[in-house]
Symmetry: C2
Subunit: 130 residues, 2 copies
Amino acid sequence: MGKRKPTSTNTINRETLIDFCGMVYAVDILGGRWKLLILYKLEGRTLRFSELKKRLPNVSDRMLTLHLQELEKSGLVIRTVHAEVPARVEYHLSESARQLAPVWKQLEQWGLAHRDVMEKAGELSVAIQS
Amino acid sequence: MGKRKPTSTNTINRETLIDFCGMVYAVDILGGRWKLLILYKLEGRTLRFSELKKRLPNVSDRMLTLHLQELEKSGLVIRTVHAEVPARVEYHLSESARQLAPVWKQLEQWGLAHRDVMEKAGELSVAIQS
DNA sequence: TTTTGCGCTTACATTTTTGTGTGCTCCGCA
DNA sequence: TGCGGAGCACACAAAAATGTAAGCGCAAAA
C-alpha cells in the first residue's frame, strides 16, 4: 500500500519466502483485509465500483480503491473503464483468479469446519474447568 | 502478536469479516510471515524447536516462538514439552491442520502457475514497449 | 565451587507495513 | 449550484515483524 523499504529484514524475508514457495506467494497476494471478499463478490459477474462497495460491509472508498488496485497489479482482477460520463468502471476476475475459485471454496469449507472444532474444544475446556 | 485495540475500526472490520466468511477466518489464521512454512515443514513429522529453526531460512528464535504460539492457539499445531534437561519441546500438526494439507498444496500449485502467467505477461509487455 | 552451556521462552524497545480518516478533484447534467 | 461516480493526496493510528538482552534448571567443565 505504502511503499516498502527494500532493505528491511521484513522485506527481505518476505521476498525470500515468496521466492521459494508458491503458497507464500499466493497468500501474499490474497492477504489484505478485503481481497478475498472482493474476489468472492466478483465471482461469476462483473461489477462496478459502487456496486462492489454496496456489497462489502463497511468498506471505505479508499480501502476499496487500494485493494482493487493491488488485485489488478497482481493480475487477479481486470479493470475496464468505459468512456462515458460520468465514467463507469467495471471489474471482473481474470482467468487466473477464476482458477483459484475452487481453492478458496475449499478454504472456506475448511475454515468453517475448523472454527467448529475450535468452538467445541473451547466449550469442552470450559466444562472441565467448572 | 501484540495486543489489539478492541475498539479500532481495523479490529471491528476484521472481526466482522472473520465472522461472516470462513475463508477470511482461514487466511487470518494462516497469514503470518512464517506460518505456512512451519506447517509445511511439520507435515508428516514431528520436529523440535531447533530442528524447525534449521529448516526455515533466516528465522529468529523469537519469530519462531511467536508464530508457533499462535499456531498452537489456533489449534493447528500441538506442542509437547518433555520434562528433560535441557528441555525438549516437540511440535506436530493437529488433525485439523492435516486436513488442510491438500488445500495448501493446491494453493502452492496455483501460486506457481500464476507466477508463471504473470512473468509471461511481464515479458510480453516489455516486448511490446521495445 | 564458580562458571559455562544448552534449548527454549519471555520482556521490552523499535522499525516497517497495513489499515483508516478527511478532504479534494474532475466532468457534465439537472 | 449542487450531485454522483470514481478515485487521489496527505496525515495518522494500529498491528505485525524484528532486535536485544535476559532467565531458567541443571549437568558438566574449569
